[in-house]
């Protein structure tokens, strides 16, 4: 089996005056499942299309399996791509769609048939093999598009927002399908999406992109628990992390964090040691995820501090209730037990787990 690692070295894409991709360095290991995620216009699709060879590279190098492929046309890069709107050939049957690449390369008929049958079995589309794309549902078309990629047995799979055209339920289903397929075929995969849930659930490593740059590369857990920037902290996780303006204060030998005139908490010792060197004058943001803002109990653990507030709105989700309230005008979201008695407009005592807090510089957006 050929090595199929992909490397990007200072890759830049310029359209006239606009830089869509501003110098990307990325190493993708063999068999790895990498997800590029970011808001629309962040350059993730452009990056993928440059790996595919559908867009020229303005500057930098792209390597597949150790060879620089900057000037290699897509057909010689040994890649397969799944498009957002499937891009199935409407005049060909499912089998013809899947075998098109192999037929162009003059594979023997028997092998083509064997590969198509195998891929169809893997994707559970054996019954559809003689149909035209028009006769298929969205999910089935997506499977065929994946089948077309699989039969080629390429070095790299590229997925360009493959689930965006499906309804929510089907999306979850196909997400699991894609994961299963990758577990079976183990082909190096680069997957582009704007949906952070897809990114978190599918990826070995997630690449968060913003404005043509990479914000952070890491495993889903790293990104969630140790975001490097405010952008990543706010982008990963739903509902999003709360950012509350705050400042550090010394109070009787302990470091405390002041959120409002009324509310200030002593920092847990580990945190205090970490933040002690920071100037007390800096404009800071407290980053705290909604799940670390819960209803208060009689016995709070160390580093968990409680405070009183008045709820604006509550959203019962079934397994939890989201509560929204304001701290000096900053909207904040918390997640409480559905039986905790949260009501719209009612006062409530909440607890904040400062062991899981993040402290950010408001101006630079860096996580401290």
């Amino acid at each position: 089996m050929l090595m199929a690692d992909v490397s990007l070295r200072k890759v830049i894409k310029r359209y006239d005056d606009v830089e869509a991709v501003r110098g990307i360095d990325l190493d993708i290991a063999d068999h790895e499942f990498i997800v590029l995620v970011g808001p629309s216009g962040c350059g993730k699709s452009t990056t993928l299309r440059m790996i595919a060879g559908l867009e020229d590279i303005s500057d930098g190098d792209i390597m597949i399996g150790g060879d620089v492929v900057n000037d290699v046309p897509p057909k010689d890069r040994d890649i397969a791509m799944v498009f957002q709107n499937y891009a199935l050939y409407p005049h060909m049957t499912v089998a013809e769609n899947m075998s098109f690449g192999l037929r162009l390369k003059h594979y023997p008929k028997a092998e083509i048939k064997a590969r198509v049958t195998e891929a169809a079995r893997l994707l559970d589309i054996t019954d559809l093999i003689d149909r035209k794309p028009k006769q298929l549902s969205g999910g089935q078309r997506q499977r065929v598009a994946m089948g077309r990629a699989i039969v080629r047995n390429p070095k790299v799979f590229l997925f360009d927002e493959p689930l965006s055209n499906l309804d929510a339920k089907l999306r979850v289903q196909m997400r699991i399908e894609i994961k299963k397929v990758h577990q079976k075929v183990r082909t190096t995969t680069v997957y582009v999406t704007h949906d952070q849930v897809e990114a978190m659930t599918l990826a070995d490593r997630v690449v968060v992109m913003n404005k043509g740059r990479i914000e952070q590369i890491g495993t889903p857990n790293e990104l969630y628990h140790k975001p490097a920037t405010r952008f990543v902290a706010g982008f990963i996780g739903s509902p999003a992390m709360n950012f509350i303006p705050c400042r550090l204060e010394d109070a009787g030998g302990t470091l405390q964090i002041r959120l409002t005139d009324r509310i200030a908490f002593a920092l847990p010792s580990a945190r205090a040691a970490r933040y002690n060197a920071l100037p007390r004058t800096d404009k800071l943001l407290l980053g705290i995820r909604p799940e670390h803002l819960t209803e208060s109990h009689a016995h709070l653990g160390s580093g968990v501090e409680s405070f009183d507030t008045v709820l604006d709105v509550t959203e019962p989700m079934g397994m939890e209730t989201l509560v929204y309230f304001g701290l000096d005008g900053t909207p904040v979201c918390g997640r409480v037990d559905p039986n905790a008695g949260a009501k719209d407009g009612a006062p409530m005592r909440l607890a904040m787990d400062l062991n899981n807090m993040h402290l950010l510089n408001e101006e630079t957006g860096a996580v401290l």
């Binding site: 057909k75 498009f83 891009a87 050939y89 162009l104 035209k132």
Partner: protein, 348 residues
């Protein structure tokens, strides 16, 4: 009309509109239609509310049915076609059965007379050569140029499209006159230019081969832009992602054309070819102006020969008879090509 009612009207329409495609243009037309039907449908809606369940109730219900309304909407066109096409067609059938003085019924006498004349068979042959050759070249040139124009970016493309459409926009009788001058054996631009290369003078319209070549050339010049525009529209309707998918699947430019472009354009190609074949086969003005059928009737087409026989030689029944021969030939072509279109249309 109260808003609730119009909504009811729209709802009542819903079950019928399955086949309507939802492109903006067609949905606009559809909406307009819905408005014009609204009165009928609203009355129907009232009926439905008073006496449910929905039951067929005579004339009103029939008026509300989409097919009935569609028939009435197309009626003016049907009448127009009947008046301008069907009536002359049957009249010429009648004329073709008369003798030269148009006083006596001779049955198929005119036809049997034609079959015995050598000129008739030459006209059949020349019409076929003319139509097939011209259409093939028009299609080929249109296809190639459409690809070039398709690849010209944005604003420039509009200019080129406009310029390339000029031959098709000028009335052919006028532009053919210009060609007539170009083909002039002694003082024309063609022969003058060729004389520098030691070629010629070529008897463009004076010799059978060159005369046939010339009428075909002018027809191709006149008709290729039509193919260009049709093919350009078809090219634009092929999603870019199909080409990208094909590029990744390993197709080179030729394979992309063969496996993606041509199959995707198949319907347009078929319809355009059929349409052009009919128009070219029935061509009159170019041949009439350039050669008047000469030399020695060798460039005559059905239309020009029918004109010569029927009007200039005052044998109207025989002329009608000649022009009627176009019908079976074109009907066969139409059946073949349209059968394929409807078959494809069901699949794609």
């Amino acid at each position: 009309m109260p808003p609730g009612m119009s909504r009811q009207g729209a709802l009542a329409l819903r079950p019928h509109d399955k086949g309507v495609d939802r492109s903006p243009a067609s949905s606009f037309i559809f909406r307009q239609k819905a408005h014009s039907m609204a009165d009928v449908v609203v009355q129907q809606g009232r009926l439905v509310r008073n006496a449910r369940p929905r039951k067929a109730s005579g004339l009103r219900n029939m008026l509300g049915r989409k097919s009935t309304v569609a028939f009435f909407l197309t009626l003016p066109l049907i009448l127009l076609i009947a008046l301008l096409v069907l009536y002359p067609a049957f009249f010429s059938l009648y004329l073709a059965t008369l003798n030269k003085a148009m006083t006596k019924f001779v049955g198929l006498g005119n036809f049997t007379f034609l079959f015995k004349r050598e000129t008739f068979w030459m006209v059949v042959k020349q019409s076929c050569i003319f139509a097939v050759t011209a259409v093939v070249f028009k299609a080929l040139i249109g296809f190639i140029v459409a690809h070039f124009v398709h690849n010209i970016p944005g604003k420039k493309q509009r200019k080129w499209r406009g310029m390339l459409l000029v031959p098709w926009v000028i009335p052919p009788a006028m532009s053919t006159l210009a060609w007539l001058w170009l083909f002039d054996p002694s003082y024309s631009a063609f022969n003058y230019t060729l004389s520098f290369f030691g070629v010629g003078p070529i008897p463009w319209l004076g010799e059978t081969f060159w005369a046939r070549f010339s009428v075909i050339l002018v027809n191709v010049w006149y008709g290729a832009p039509f193919f260009l525009i049709m093919y350009l529209a078809a090219l634009k309707s092929v999603p870019d992602q199909l080409y990208e998918a094909a590029a990744i699947d390993g197709a080179n430019w030729w394979q992309k054309i063969w496996y993606i472009t041509l199959p995707m354009m198949r319907n347009i190609i078929a319809i355009t070819t059929l349409f052009s074949l009919i128009v070219t086969f029935a061509n009159f003005d170019i041949v009439r102006i350039l050669t008047s059928g000469g030399p020695l009737d060798t460039t005559h087409l059905f239309a020009t020969w029918a004109f010569q026989v029927g009007i200039q030689s005052s044998d109207i029944p025989l002329g009608a008879c000649v022009s009627l021969f176009m019908v079976p030939i074109l009907a066969v072509a139409a059946i073949f090509i349209l059968r394929d279109v409807s078959k494809r249309g069901n699949e794609a």
